[in-house]
């Protein structure tokens, strides 16, 4: 097991495309870190650079305490699980899992021991002699994982390993991965575009966009204190509500003013307002669960019209129209809410976020 350090990592492709920009990430020993972001944000490229499958254009990569920029993939002490699994279709499960050991000339006895250990760990007993084509998606996924685990990697790299599974299996494998990580305490870098996966699995999450690191922190930090509008919008489902408007000082109190009304901002946001956003156009962000819906007028509330109710079972979401602005509000499933009625929305003061409009 080892720690991992990425220092000012850059990736430029020969065609000039700047895929990863000044990436600085420190992953401590045994940590589960997710790289998350939309397609093309550079998360897979970063993973491939750590794996040694892509050259690092600039910057330094340390695995353990070794500068690893020029160390070939096979000597980095990493193992990788690919999105497509990349199992060898011509080999049995056993041959697939022990391939790396065979290449490293590990004696047959130890190979067998490790194979049995992995088959046990991943619940693959009895499938040793099958070919990948004869396995289900979940089984293939576990073989790919097993193939990486037998190598005792210092750092385990997972490139969207669950994205080819159906929803139910994905949730199951999520738990499975968590269990394996707890048991093996290996350092894991996990690439995904699914923020829910990142939230449930990781010790920390690194959110990327356009090759840049947007924010890195624990799932709750990312969720509760998003650094910018992009992170706020990317993490959480349904997504955070955004309202464009501007800040105004009225009677020595800060107000957020937009086309459909105004809200007094809590003391909490004062610092932030002073620091950077004052005078500029801003965006107010509020998560669906931080809005209360009521049908009696209240101080400092917004007025809208209920329009659609979506039932998810454990939660219900109501869309409220305020002119052209649509807000998603979480409501108790049992609670009766009439549709097409005028309603009042109260925003939880300590859960409001303010972002620069232009900044991502």
């Amino acid at each position: 097991m080892a720690e991992l350090k990425l220092m000012n990592i850059n990736k430029r492709y020969p065609n000039g495309f700047h895929a990863v920009k000044d990436l600085n990430i420190y992953v401590s020993d045994g940590e589960f870190l997710s790289l998350v972001g939309p397609s093309g944000c550079g998360k897979s490229t970063t993973l491939r650079m750590i794996a040694g499958l892509e050259d690092i254009s600039e910057g330094e990569l340390y695995i353990g305490n070794r500068l690893s920029n020029d160390i070939p993939a096979k000597d980095r002490g990493i193992a990788m699980v690919f999105q497509s699994y990349a199992l060898f279709p011509h080999m049995t499960v056993e041959a697939n899992i022990t391939f790396g050991l065979k290449i490293k000339k590990v004696p047959e006895k130890i190979r067998k021991e490790k194979l049995n250990w992995v088959l046990e760990l991943l619940d693959l007993k009895g499938l040793e002699n099958r070919k990948p084509a004869e396995l289900s998606g979940g089984q293939r996924q576990r073989v790919a994982l097993g193939r990486a685990l037998v190598l005792d990697p210092d750092v385990l790299l997972l490139d969207e390993p669950l994205s080819n599974l159906d929803a139910k299996l994905r949730v199951k494998m999520r738990t499975e991965l968590k269990r394996i990580h707890k048991k093996l305490k290996s350092t894991i870098i996990y690439v995904t575009h699914d923020q829910a996966e990142a939230m449930t699995l990781s010790d920390r999450i690194a959110v990327m966009k356009d090759g840049k690191l947007m924010q890195i922190g624990t799932p709750s930090e990312i969720y509760n204190n998003p650094a910018n509008k992009f992170v706020a919008g990317f993490v959480g489902s349904p997504a955070m509500n955004f309202i464009s408007g501007e800040l105004k000082l009225i009677d020595n109190k800060n107000y957020f003013v937009f086309e459909m009304g105004k809200i007094e901002l809590p003391e909490l946001l004062k610092e932030k307002i002073k620091e950077s956003i004052k005078g500029k156009d801003v965006v107010l962000g509020i998560r669906p669960e931080d809005i209360e819906i009521s049908f009696e007028k209240d101080n400092n509330s917004l007025t809208g019209v209920t329009s659609i109710r979506e039932t998810l079972g454990s939660d219900d979401y109501v869309t409220v129209e305020m002119g052209n602005i649509l807000l998603t509000v979480r409501v108790e499933p049992e609670k009766f809410i009439p549709m097409d009625e005028k309603c009042y929305l109260k925003l939880k003061g300590n859960k409001m976020h303010l972002f620069n409009k232009d900044e991502d």
């Binding site: 794996a51 040694g52 499958l53 993939a73 096979k74 000597d75 990493i78 193992a79 990788m80 690919f82 497509s84 990349a86 199992l87 060898f88 279709p89 011509h90 080999m91 049995t92 056993e94 041959a95 022990t98 391939f99 790396g100 065979k102 290449i103 490293k104 190979r111 194979l115 193939r147 190598l151």
Partner: protein, 302 residues
Amino acid sequence: MRKILIAFRKNSFLIYSLIPAFLYIGFFALIIGFYLLKLSLTKYAGGDVVLSSTLYNYIKIFDDPMFNKEFSDAFRRTLIFVIVVTPLQLVTGLITAMLINKSFAGRGIVRSILLLPLAIPTIVTTSVLLILFSKGGHMTSLLMGRYSFFPKIFDYEISFISNPYTSIGLSIFGKVWRDTPISMLILLSGLQQINEEQYEAARTMGATAVQNFFYITIPLLMPSISSVLILRSIEAWKEFIFPYILAPSYPILGVLIEKYYVQLMDPGTAAMVGIVLIVCILVTSYVLTYILNKINRYLIRA
């Protein structure tokens, strides 16, 4: 009966579409094979049938010392031809296919050049080789220093065509050059089905390029490799035109057929050689499949 009729009606399109295949096998394999066998069991003399339903043509191989020498020489040459040409075409095909499989500037042009031998009529290829290598041809002139740009290497004229080794060697060269594109295309289609990520996965697990080649490329290419080896070995066994033109004094079995059928008007002996070729081809295909299976199993074992 009713059941059969219903089944027939259900699958009638499938059954009708099989008719061409049956006709093909019927005409081109069974009927021709039957007549070939019948012909090989007929003794001819001076263009006339003397005896039918006889093993004379086969027994002649062992009984007639003159024919025995001619046949065994031709058989030996054919065997050498097959043993050299078949693997050589696999190697040249694999090298060119792997070259083209990589993307590089000017790949299209290189691909066209590599396919060119197929587009040139074989008779032209053989004629060019003949002009180059025959007595007084360009190659002897070149080696004797008759061209100013090349140093003199030999004092005397070399006759490539009348030497058993160089003439068969030339035929082999011509054959391999002409047919490499076929092997290349078969192997290229196989190579393109291999997912690049498998090589990357192997790399992260510690495999070198050589190990990648033997543990991933070769086993995944096995279907293409066996097609190439079997098709090419069949072609090599029944080769005619290259040795016919380039090694006229050293016939192989295919040339022997022409000699007996056309020149000596003995179709019986010609047919017998043809039957021997068919048996050789069947045996070779079987042996090749067996060996390839063994190799494959060795490479993919745990």
